[in-house]
Symmetry: C2
Subunit: 340 residues, 2 copies
């Protein structure tokens, strides 16, 4: 590898001091015009590029934000994450910020990964996704007064910036849609109950039942894990019941797709024999004509990143909370129940 070109190299080459070279190259303060030109000519010629690490150390800023993906199990594959990353990446590009990414399963190592980024000063801020009720990440970041934004709320008594979907209202609407079609045996495949949105979504579901005077049956609520496999397992259980539901609401689209694939396998017709609905409206969902609640993940990710960068750049203290209404998308996976 050829000898690195540093400010020193240019300084020696031009016979000027390192300081002057630095100033000329960052368009700082007053440098004589011909000096500036001489220096940038030399910089070009020598192929100078500033060492970001040195700059970071000096400026105590990394121009980087961090994201640690909570991956449950190996080989996670969730369109949610690719939309998220695309949104964050595209937005950060506008500010010349970089994204430092780790994948880590929730648990002990997880906080270590956060410490590494935070206390190791690898990033200027963090995006926290899939918030949990007693979220140790949020507790930790808040305690460290480190800049962060979250995709989702938490049950902690902590004031922080977030964007979230109003899952309660969403599932209220969705469940009411099914009820209006004539369903009263409606099952719910829930997310892991430590996730905050699990409660909101479940609450919306229960509220709709209540309003329609349908008795809430706990056996109809099966815990899922947000993966397709999880959706499949839960659906199999539900359909094996002696009094199976006529409609299944999954807490996200991926599990709903799992449900659909089980129905297909059993030769049941989606939206006829059993109605299915989800949440997210990820790319494949329209192809299955899945009734769902649309959550603009990409846009939310962009907005979150913008919020975070502004916090960092302006040192903003006040927190911003945004609650979005998901949009009900009715497709053919939900229909009137068969007369039984």
């Amino acid at each position: 590898m050829s000898q690195r070109v540093t400010l020193k190299t240019i300084a020696q080459y031009t016979g000027l001091s390192v300081t002057t070279v630095s100033r000329a190259l960052t368009n700082y303060s007053d440098v004589a015009n011909d000096t500036r030109e001489k220096i940038s000519a030399a910089a070009n010629e020598l192929g100078y590029y500033p060492n970001q690490t040195a700059r970071q150390l000096q400026k105590q800023r990394t121009d980087t934000i961090g994201l640690i993906l909570p991956t449950y199990g190996p080989r996670f594959n969730d369109p949610y994450f690719s939309e998220l990353i695309a949104g964050i990446g595209d937005e950060l590009a506008l500010y010349n910020f970089d994204l430092l990414l780790s994948t880590r399963a929730p648990g002990v190592n997880e906080i270590a990964a956060y410490r590494h980024m935070v206390e190791g000063r690898r990033v200027d801020g963090l995006v926290v996704v899939r918030t949990r009720k007693q979220d140790p990440r949020i507790a930790y970041l808040s305690r460290s007064s480190f800049p962060f934004v979250a995709f989702g709320r938490s049950d902690l008594d902590i004031d922080f910036s977030y964007i979230d979907e109003d899952g309660e209202t969403g599932f209220l609407q969705l469940t009411q849609h099914l009820i209006s079609l004539g369903h009263c045996k409606i099952a719910f495949i829930s997310p892991p109950m430590n996730l905050v949105f699990a409660n909101y979504r479940l609450r919306g579901y229960r509220l709709a039942l209540e309003k329609a005077n349908i008795t809430y049956k706990p056996v109809y609520v099966i815990p899922g894990d947000l993966t397709r496999r999880g959706g499949e397992r839960a659906t199999r259980k539900l359909l094996a019941m002696e009094d199976p539901p006529t409609a299944i609401i999954a807490a996200n689209d991926l599990m709903a797709l799992g449900a659909i694939s089980v129905l297909n396998e059993l030769g049941l017709i989606v939206g006829k024999d059993v109605s299915i609905a989800g949440f997210d409206d990820i790319p494949p969902s329209d192809m299955f004509s899945l009734t769902t609640l649309r959550q603009p993940i990409y846009d939310i990710a962009r907005q979150l990143s913008a919020m975070l960068v502004n916090m960092i750049l302006n040192g903003t203290i006040e927190k911003k909370q945004i609650l979005l209404k998901p949009k009900l998308i009715i497709r053919n996976s939900t229909g009137v129940p068969l007369i039984s």
Copy 2:
């Protein structure tokens, strides 16, 4: 934000020198046992965590590898990328490496993003994906003798490490499968032709036709862009021809899914009215019973990362080239053609 704890803080606290503290904390050389204990006690108490930036500057190593996602158009969403990131992230976690990620459309800014990571010394190595025939990224990295590995080959006369799928053999098999079913009007939705794998895949397709004495018809080859929308557009064109194909091979699953969605829309039955096949075997593909060539993206990503980290850690010079055979997965999207 509370005062940062550095080596100096601990040094003052314990009355020892910064050097000794550093040595004690990195388990280096000989430090008296009680000194070491005293120091780690103090470090714990004060909540010390080494500043990674400073360490990087000193060691001239970042323990980070870079990935710049070539995103065509806004809101890209390709399961290919999430599998890739998952694989890289999981593997890097084993080595305590981080991943620095950018999204950038191919073009002028793209190389700037590479320069930023390479010459700005932000990373120790790079993963290049979706290689192109005259790939400026590979040319650049090779010229800079910067460690990198690629997912895919290139037409450049450059020796570098890569893993690639044998697309030619794959598409030969896939096309022969369709021919054996009785198809002779087989269309091909190609990737952008500047991508290296486009040629291999096209070549496999043509080779199969040739071997079966089927005349190659250029009108049956439509350029796509690897997205679902692109697959839809191409399919519409193909089906509107006066002599439409009975089978459509798409260069990747995403475009194949686009083809399927057009067929559904037109009320045509997949695998019956028209056969469809793809490449990748991404998660949704099995749900559409898509015949495809399986490419283990996640595993390839892990292996690529391992190769790269080894190059970095051991300063390996010799290049490694791996060509994998994709596996033909026959499902119901391909069937015998209708008698016409």
